[in-house]
Symmetry: C2
């Protein structure tokens, strides 16, 4: 079977990451060429041994090219994706796939028309921290999960390059927000029944850079996301509460733990108020240690290259597509509503 | 100056706490008597040396009584408060002052008519953890504060006694929710411009017992509250982010820290993506240690008895009232909207 020939359009930070990653880990795909409007980026691709095209038309006219990865600023995704599909190419697009759901619907229509593959590089579905949470939930280790916090706190205060510009589709909701929402909607195989968002522009004028996002799923689960850029004491990456236990992943290194209720450890209640450090309270009095057991986090070892391996499997007819545009459309529908909810002061306007 | 004579109406867990607390710490007030419809509670008051009335009418008819503290289930607050004010008594009411803002407006009308004192026992304004946060914010140690998390996680899974019944005004929003909202609105001397709430009934049917509350203040600050009852790994009690630093209070013992940006510690940026444990990212790459400094938390020592000391000061004409019904009305307006936001699926209905 001949190799799938890949060309990368947009050879900036993520573009060159795609090249290295595929070259080292996905033998089914040949990283053949690149195109970038910036001469220095093109030069960088040439140094890495890639064939450098001098126009997008030249890429699309090259019949030997099977697959295009689009890694340009977000506002150019739609047009390039549609042109590439119409030229008969299979297409991978960096996230966010588009700036809104309407743009994505245009792409999906062309995908349907052409029958080519279209997928989005939601690489963080293979993040180890996320997979630990998913494994724990799917195996029922926590019982029914009803409160989730998914938190990513940086401390450099800035959005970089074009990500700091509204017209390029910059801002945190369209950057990390897309990843965290995609993870949330992969974790819960359920309808999203309400959304809200608090978007603040603190350090990069014109785009949201410190944000809280809120989802409620059909089962009632309350799911909170935070992305911030000037946090000097980090909260855990994940905190997940279920009817039978609580899971915490501390950080990217994936230290953490899972505490479970012991099934038969009976608690004796008294009707008296308990005098705790919190003052008189029964509700918040501590639970005896003997009613709980600590378990290690699930042992999982995902790898981002699995994304491209799946693409190769789909093109070779042996696998079905993992990251579909229909999934991305649900995420973009949520994002559209979040921008509206924020602009209209969310849930209810008031001035109390 | 003669002592202020106090009678406690409702001598359950909190009622007897009021008696002890005032007796030991507030010499200006004499804890004289009690009334409770339950014979065993009345007997308990008698054993503690209090004069036990045999009806509420008898309490209200006793001209020697200056001050009534109401510590009965929430649904009885309004009627007793109004009767007591009309009988010429000064009145302290346990929180939540009423079940909704309309009930409180009725009380305020009678307070205006009678000119007597009416206050709400928002004792948690004197919690040390809260005062640490307030001191840090008021002294500007964090710069402008724009993200706050106020989290209270219990693990016993239950709401106790009448607090588990809707008709008594049970549930977490009207219990701890009132405290955390009052603290939030004390911390920010600003209008609340949006509210949302995710209320779940997980372990006590009929009342909300595991809840997320969301406020946005006029300056844009996003303020999240959580109260949960089956959490086996606790998040910090407070996490507060400002433009110049981050503060964390770990728990009721008030361990924690404050990290500040060093004013002149310049950071050198590169335009390259940083390869972190989180993958390729500039935004979330770590900040060098030398750009930050760790400070101890502010050293504060509030005491709940200051609430009653202020009441005595007001009645003796030397102080103005700290906890006013007008403040409580703002909190109850927020609570009313939160119940609506939850029932109507908050921000925006959707089914994505």
């Amino acid at each position: 079977m001949s190799k799938i020939r890949l060309v990368i359009v947009g050879f900036g930070g993520m573009g060159s990451w795609h090249a290295e990653s595929v070259k080292n880990k996905v033998p089914e795909i040949e990283v053949y060429g690149a195109y970038d409007i910036r001469p220095e980026a093109a030069e960088n691709a040439r140094k890495k041994g890639l064939f450098v095209y001098d126009s997008l038309d030249a890429v699309l006219a090259d019949e030997s090219v099977d697959l295009i990865t689009i890694a340009v600023p977000n506002n150019f995704h739609k047009d390039i994706a549609i042109r590439a599909l119409r030229a008969g190419k299979n297409v991978i697009c960096e996230k966010p796939v588009t700036l809104n759901s309407a743009e994505l619907e245009e792409i999906i229509a062309v995908r349907n028309e052409t029958g080519k593959l279209f997928s989005i590089h939601q690489n963080r579905r293979w993040d180890r921290d996320f997979r630990i949470v998913k494994e724990a939930k799917d195996r029922g280790l926590l019982g029914r999960v009803y409160m989730v916090k998914s938190i990513v706190q940086g401390s450099r205060g800035a959005m970089y390059g074009w990500r700091g510009h509204k017209e390029n589709g910059g801002g945190m909701l369209l950057d990390w927000g897309i990843h965290l929402l995609d993870q949330a909607m992969q974790l819960f195989d359920e309808k999203v029944v309400s959304v809200d968002a608090h978007l603040q522009s603190m350090y990069t004028p014109g785009v949201d850079d410190n944000i809280h996002l809120f989802l409620r799923f059909e089962s009632g689960c309350s799911y909170i996301m935070e992305m911030s850029t000037n946090c000097l004491i980090n909260l855990p990456r994940w905190h997940v509460q279920g009817t039978e236990g609580t899971l915490q992943v501390n950080d990217w290194s994936c230290s953490g733990k899972l505490m479970k209720l012991k099934p038969n450890a009976e608690m004796k209640w008294t009707d008296d108020i308990v005098y705790t450090e919190a003052g008189p309270t029964r509700t918040m009095a501590p639970r005896p240690e003997y009613t709980m057991v600590e378990l290690p986090l699930p042992d999982v070892h995902p790898d981002w290259s699995e994304y491209y391996k799946n693409i190769a499997g789909v093109l070779n007819g042996t696998e079905s597509l993992i990251v579909t545009p229909e999934q991305a459309l649900r995420v973009m529908n949520v994002v559209d509503l979040m921008f509206k909810a924020d602009a209209e002061r969310g849930a209810r306007k008031c001035c109390i």
